[in-house]
């Protein structure tokens, strides 16, 4: 199972505990999380389902490349960290 962790600063606005989900891409993993936490979607993705401008996602320590389609590959042992980019202040 893929481990998905969200920045603790999100807790100020809504509950988003760490999740273990399945998936082969970042998109699939996030969609699995949104199935149970639909409100979280709008905090991470914009109107066109792209990663928000000032958010950043790390997979196993590397920032993802595809911020539009979130097609970066993941393995069952991957750890995904959804964080704030400091460009957003």
């Amino acid at each position: 199972m893929v481990r998905v962790v969200f920045t603790a600063n999100l807790e100020r606005h809504l509950s988003c505990p760490e999740e273990s989900v399945s998936g082969t891409t970042v998109r699939e993993a996030l969609e699995a999380v949104f199935e149970t936490q639909e409100k979280l979607r709008g905090y991470i993705l914009d109107d066109q389902s792209r990663l928000r401008q000032h958010m950043v996602i790390f997979v196993d320590g590397q920032t993802i490349v595809d911020r539009v389609h979130l097609s970066d590959s993941i393995s069952p042992e991957s750890e995904i960290y959804v964080m704030q980019a400091l460009s957003g202040g």
Partner: protein
């Protein structure tokens, strides 16, 4: 006279109350959060607060008990595939996907539309809700106009709808003003739209485009609630008014000490009386000679008085954003909040002002709670 006022700021929403003869801060909600807009809907006593999180996007919250409890409701969402206009300053630029970047205006529908809200956004979409903000629909009839692709940002990267005027006697008649996209009017509840900006003038365009109605930068537009054919516009390079329902606009030149500014308020019963907050000019956005003043005209802009009693007479660098000047239903009480967190109120139409706070965060929107 109003006894409550709401202030949206860079660091939260403040609610103030009048007690005996002074105004005090009663509540501070969303501390530290960027609140771009506030609306108190007197039809059902709901307050709406639009938040703009730097990282997590735009959110909308509502409260039915004066702020004791808030619930997050829906925000306008641009439909899949919606595109912004191509960047006019980049050759062969591809249109970029549209996504909500700011709730810039929020207004109730008419009294015959109890759950209706209108929302003006950046990047230029007008949205409608018929369930108190639980869901929103993009007004396609305005978004799909080919003229929309000629709009451009004024002070923001993208165009935005900052003023929504719902006709007080006919709620199907709505006028919106856009930076920079002129004034658009519907008379059929948003089914069709007509640009009604003839007479506005843009100094920032080449001479042959200066009177193009579709590129005018109205900073703020207000409508007389009792004589709704009368509107005022504080424009990027001047002050304009119409007395024929926006069929034609006339430039007025009597506003002192400057015709540059963002905000305008119109007297609720006397449409020829209006207030402005002048700055030097677009390239120097500070009060003229460091004196923070309010301008008031009572003759439709032919002449004006400079109101300064109680306002900073020197070393003021306050600018008042377009939504940060409001007037109550009597026309006596006005409130004004500045970019440097100063907040003043007058209870005599501007003849004298009292300083309520000098230490608020940058102020985006000031609104009296009206009955």
């Amino acid at each position: 006279m109003s006894s409550q006022v709401q202030i949206a700021t860079r660091k939260g929403l403040f609610q103030l109350e009048r007690n005996s003869d002074s105004w005090k801060i009663r509540r501070h909600d969303f501390p530290g959060e960027n609140v771009s807009m506030v609306l108190h809907d007197s039809r059902d006593n709901t307050t709406y607060a639009a938040l703009n999180h730097g990282h997590f996007g735009v959110k909308l919250h509502r409260s039915s008990d004066a702020g004791q409890n808030w619930e997050e409701c829906a925000v306008p969402v641009y439909p899949e595939g919606a595109k912004k206009a191509p960047d006019p300053f980049t050759e062969n630029a591809e249109p970029k996907p549209a996504s909500l970047s700011e709730i810039w205006s929020l207004e109730p529908g008419g009294i015959d539309q109890p759950n209706r809200l209108w929302c003006g956004t950046i990047p230029g979409g007008l949205f409608r809700s018929d369930d108190r903000g639980s869901s929103w629909q993009l007004v396609d009839s305005l978004w799909d106009l080919p003229e929309r692709l000629k709009w451009f940002g004024g002070g923001k990267d993208d165009p935005g709808i900052h003023s929504i005027c719902v006709h007080p006697q006919n709620s199907r008649n709505i006028a919106v003003a856009i930076s920079c996209g002129g004034v658009w009017v519907t008379e059929d509840d948003g089914t069709s739209w007509t640009c009604k900006a003839d007479g506005l003038r843009a100094e920032y365009m080449p001479p042959d485009l200066a009177h193009d109605p579709n590129i005018q930068d109205a900073h703020r537009m207000v409508q007389s609630p009792t004589q709704p054919d009368h509107f005022w516009i504080q424009h990027h390079n001047g002050v304009f008014k119409t007395t024929d329902g926006a069929q034609s606009w006339q430039e007025v030149t009597g506003i002192q000490p400057s015709v540059f500014g963002f905000a305008v308020a119109v007297h609720p019963q006397r449409p020829e009386t209006a207030w402005f907050v002048p700055g030097v000019k677009d390239e120097c956005r500070i009060p003229v000679e460091g004196r923070f003043v309010i301008a008031r005209t009572t003759d439709g802009g032919v002449t004006s008085e400079v109101l300064s009693n109680g306002l900073p007479g020197e070393h003021s660098y306050d600018i008042v954003y377009r939504h940060a000047l409001d007037i109550d239903e009597t026309g006596d009480c006005l409130a004004v909040g500045s970019t440097t967190g100063n907040f003043w109120i007058t209870e005599d139409g501007g003849d004298s002002w009292q300083t309520v706070s000098t230490s608020l965060p940058p102020i985006y929107c000031v609104r009296f709670v009206k009955s």
